[in-house]
Amino acid sequence: MGGFANAVVQGVMVGGLYAMFAIGLALIFGVMKLVNIAHGDLIVLAAYIGLVVTQTLHLNPLAALVFVVPIMAVVGYGLQRGLFNRTMGDDLMPPLLVSFGLSIIMENGFLALFSADNRRLQAGALEVASVKLTDAISIGVLPLLQLVAAILVIAALQLLLYRTRLGRAFRAVSDDPRIAQLMGLNNRHVFGLAMGLSLAIVGLAGVLLAISANFDPASGPTRLIFGFEAVIIGGLSSFWGTLAGGIILGVVQSVAATVDPGLQVLAGHVAFLIVLAIRPQGLFGRPG
């Protein structure tokens, strides 16, 4: 039983990471109805940037965030204004195919630049530090950090969306992009800011991912899928729902791994497909 409880706790922690993958996706979908298939590869990009920064500046990965997050934010703004803004419109194919093409380009780019080797960011003592809850259960500080970071990011986003001018602009553009222009909002700029914010979160998530697990050029699609599954399981109605979705996914995966490691990811997919089959709006989403 201790093993099961431990698995659940671990799953909750990793769920925080999945939620962060998902929040970036949910944010840009909310503001501009864009689904970026390269999202997972951008998480991996953040991981590789973290790698380069830690290696050249000899920094602890968490300190490297000071560089990674702003770099990713700028990449996001540039990517939106330079590429994705040209695909926005009624047709759903251009953004889909362009982001898919971008995903393939990035994966092969990583392969060319960094080789196919597994990489990991070393966080030193932090990696093994843990907090003991009970005799059977202890929580690693790093996994706990993933969950806490997710909660802080969501709280900060809620604050941004509901207490600031920018957040008001995001909500208005999300409601009615045509009329939002009449408020003096330059949609192209607002979209860029939304993508910049999304990738800033991706930057944080990417570094945390790289500390907690190995990554390689082909890791992107699976992260995209985890984020996507968290969004669908939790529903699009609120970011807290997305957190719940991420946690549920993490727990399902973690518990399945105690039965057989080979079942871990598969169980998550199956859980996602079941939620899709019986409650497509998500467990915490509003119907219709």
């Binding site: 909500r171 999300s174 222009q181 408020m183 003096g184 330059n186």
Partner: protein, 235 residues
């Protein structure tokens, strides 16, 4: 010497893809004036307003505002110049409260007398409901929010698209009384209306559109019922 008009539209054409909606429209709005644009459905009234505010493309010189050619500029620039639209059907932002809908109207940052407090003074009933979701208000109240939202950008010219749509006559009267007060404070207005009597009551000048063209133009005080009927129905 007559003062130059605030807005002057010359030979304006507008297209939706291959479909032509405006065929060479000429309109003028003087400072502090109310101009009414009437016409049947599909005559091009809304298209005219949408084009003025930049939601449809237009040739540069076709629209002159406050002495400058503004045709073809994007909406966010045109709003900054001082033209605000109260869209057909209100089009409030559902995710925003009443107060937030008004605040976002000010996002363009034009200086002027219209502040949140002033709008609430004009529409006291909104002040009581400021934190409510905008869509929970009655039609008339939503219309007030839409007008207030446009006012928050401190426009020189207010474009109103079918204010009376879906509202009871008594509410329509109330809304237009507010418009008169707003114009009295120095804002010019273009009123697009299906309610002809209301339009004639409030306007200084009236245009009647038919199938994308101006069929009638004249002072509201002297234009006759017959002339309007002829222009409206194209007989």
């Amino acid at each position: 010497m007559p003062e130059a008009p605030l807005l002057s539209v010359t030979a304006l054409e507008a297209f939706y893809g291959d479909f032509q909606a405006l065929y060479g429209v000429d309109v003028e709005v003087g400072r502090g004036r109310i101009v009414a644009v009437i016409g049947a459905n599909g005559a091009g009234k809304s298209t005219l307003l949408n084009t003025l505010v930049g939601l449809n493309p237009a040739p540069r010189e076709a629209i002159r505002f406050a002495g400058e050619a503004i045709g073809g500029e994007p909406p966010y620039k045109i709003v900054k110049r001082g033209i605000a639209l109260v869209p057909e059907g209100r089009r409030l932002f559902p995710s925003l409260s009443v107060e937030e809908n008004l605040l976002i109207g000010a996002q363009v940052g034009r200086p002027g007398p219209w502040t949140l407090e002033r709008v609430f003074k004009l529409f006291p009933i909104l002040s009581e409901r400021r934190r409510l979701p905008s869509m929970s208000l009655s039609g008339g109240q939503q219309q007030m929010v839409a007008v207030g939202r446009a006012l928050m950008s401190n426009p020189m010219l207010l474009l109103c698209d079918e204010l009376s749509l879906g509202l009871a006559p008594i509410v329509v009267k109330e809304i237009y009384a507010y418009i008169r007060r707003i114009v009295a404070e120095g804002v010019s207005a273009v009123i697009v209306e299906q309610d002809i009597s209301q339009a004639l009551k409030i306007a200084d000048h009236v245009y009647c559109m038919l199938e994308g063209r101006v069929a009638l133009s004249g002072p509201a005080a002297t234009v006759t019922r017959e002339a309007i009927a002829a222009a409206y129905f194209g007989v």
